[in-house]
Symmetry: C2
Subunit: 453 residues, 2 copies
Amino acid sequence: MTDPIRTDGAGGLSAAMARFAARTPAAALPAAARHQVRLSMLDWCAVGLAGCEENVSRIVRDMLAEDGGAARSTVLGLRARLPARAAALANGTTAHALDYDDTQFDFVGHPSAPVVAAALALAEARGSAGSELIDAVLIGVETTCRIGRWLGRAHYEHGFHQTATSGSFGAAAACARLLRLDEERTRHALGIASTRAAGLKSQFGTMGKPFHAGLAAANGLDAARLAAGGFVSRPDGLECEQGFARTHAGEMGDWSEALAGLGSEFRFQKVQYKYHACCHGTHAALEALLALREHVNQGAGGVRRVILRVNPRWLKVCNIQSPRTGLEAKFSYRFTAALALAGIDTGSLATFDDALCERADLAALRDKVEVQTDAAIADTAAEVRLETATGTFDERRDLDAAVSQDEQQAKLLAKANSLLGAARGMALWEAIAGLDKRPASSLGEVLAQVGSN
Amino acid sequence: MTDPIRTDGAGGLSAAMARFAARTPAAALPAAARHQVRLSMLDWCAVGLAGCEENVSRIVRDMLAEDGGAARSTVLGLRARLPARAAALANGTTAHALDYDDTQFDFVGHPSAPVVAAALALAEARGSAGSELIDAVLIGVETTCRIGRWLGRAHYEHGFHQTATSGSFGAAAACARLLRLDEERTRHALGIASTRAAGLKSQFGTMGKPFHAGLAAANGLDAARLAAGGFVSRPDGLECEQGFARTHAGEMGDWSEALAGLGSEFRFQKVQYKYHACCHGTHAALEALLALREHVNQGAGGVRRVILRVNPRWLKVCNIQSPRTGLEAKFSYRFTAALALAGIDTGSLATFDDALCERADLAALRDKVEVQTDAAIADTAAEVRLETATGTFDERRDLDAAVSQDEQQAKLLAKANSLLGAARGMALWEAIAGLDKRPASSLGEVLAQVGSN
């Protein structure tokens, strides 16, 4: 039971990934990896509920609601339930609508948005146990991360959106697990995903981007259900001649790298969360500033000067000096720093409105912030020097540094509270934390309650 | 009205195709092209109903029937109606399940399977007029043929199944037309199709191939509905940097070639139909043999010798000398020739069963057939020499040669009769021939009646 699957790629990459999905015993899934799933599910629920009223969420949901069907699965933002494949499409889209969901930089994609959408919808429809849902999500996001890494940077640079493409395989694996497909059927599910996975980076900046997460969820869910029904596909459709990887500019590195530690090590655990509703480039500096908050007296008077040091590549991305709109504020080192120093919640979507840019106290703080660059500082890092009436304080943060799950949990709860209000954030966390003892549908019920408040 | 759209590619290929779909007046659609659509719809209905009980048709249909939903659109092989997006997925798959549907060799794809599936489902759901359905199908298949040709052979050779990829654009255009989207909304529909179109040739020989036609139908239908709802995509997603064509090995020839005559010339009219339920490589010889049938006396006694001359490339494809099974018989020049000479219907699926291979009279005829090759004969052609007791007769057929619509209609009716029985074939044709005076739903009703007999 300690090594339940062969990771030597016997029979091909698809076969190994199918063995992982079909044959890893639930008891072999590490507690810490399963807890990471809980944290990502909390984040998924929070950003999903907060994203319900985005235009793309509404447009996709309206289309599906018009069609109706068996009322089995919860749809974010809708009172009525819908069939699982409709819920997967709608919820995947909604969870990515704000672009505020989790990211795994190993393969550069958002693993949870599609996989949780697919697995939750199917688990509700099937009456799965909550523990099965967590297991299936873990299997799914790990599949996404590993196949995504194997497809590699070349796949991404060629123009494919990994959230959409690798996400389809992850959603298929999660759903195959929930349906208890055997290894062979799981291979067919991955094969069906191989001929349907799609999504282009050229859609970034349009509604296409969040829609990709919904498509991946629905692709994976359909693939697993069809495989369960006896659909015969290419069981090696991912890696075969003219299969998905070869036709989609896959880097296709060594299988042994893609499969190393499969079933015991979970690369998904390197997932990162966004705690600030602004450009990712500002996040490391914001984290350092928040650590320095204790040294700031109330009001701007206590701050004399703030120096942010970042990698020069960010200057073109998020260094608007004096933003005039909420959207511009999201791309301003100086203004977001002023918000953090003033104790204003940068995790709340509502913070970034135009009116805030007019506040004189924030403008005064902003003008004390200076941005400097240093090519030796990593993309993911920032150094902050704070000079106050009482002294000079230095802090450095790198988003790549390990953060304990306790700290992640506290920050994600704060984020959920910012997005939804404290009572709703806590209700969601209680539902997720209790899933091992309750049916998966219990989470759907809480989502529906919280969403309709 | 004579030149309602600009075909100079102003604004890009997507813009030109969107203008074509949105702004070509119904009155400008040529009668002959619209009649070609009727013929293809007859073929679609016949091969679709005949393909209902294929495993892939059943598996996809069962999944969708389990989900139910608004009962608006006819599903081949199902008594209940389903939402349009479900009907499109099921019917596109079913129409291609036998691989007996129409083909356009300019882009090497099956234009009608996805486009008719999408347009019929949406026209029923919307209560469109029958004439609008015919117009929309024509717009859709022409879009498929032109975008497919522009993506070109390189796209196909790289591994993409044009029926799936170009079919998504055609289905989107057909549905955009039915929804009466303006040019801008139609561009967004094509943009959504750009990020979702998928389907790999490596799935050939599996259920993936027919499923692609269903996927294309559903992709296009969703794309048009979402665009109608306000979904913003890349309006140039087909041709933009890192758009569909560039990421999918598109040949991307000169736009002026792709757009020449758009709105007045319909390349779809070069569509070809399969009249024999066996390998396409045998069809030219079978057509020549059928033309010689009048010289054959009843029984094998009248035939002394038959020589088939074909391009040598076919020897590896369909030259099994003495087939032992129905499947082998489909790939045998000698045996299919024997069937034609004996007056046995090669258009009927039931013909190709194992028992027929045992018949002594057919074996005797088969042994009189000799296959010769000549590299100067086109892929699409065959020459037949028949020697009987009364003389020697030569006949040549090239599938690329123009065939009158009257002849096509007679052959397609015979095919429908072979597949479904004469009463049902004629009922379908009457429903299709009368569409200009009836609602689109009238065809759905006849399909349901005929299918349940």
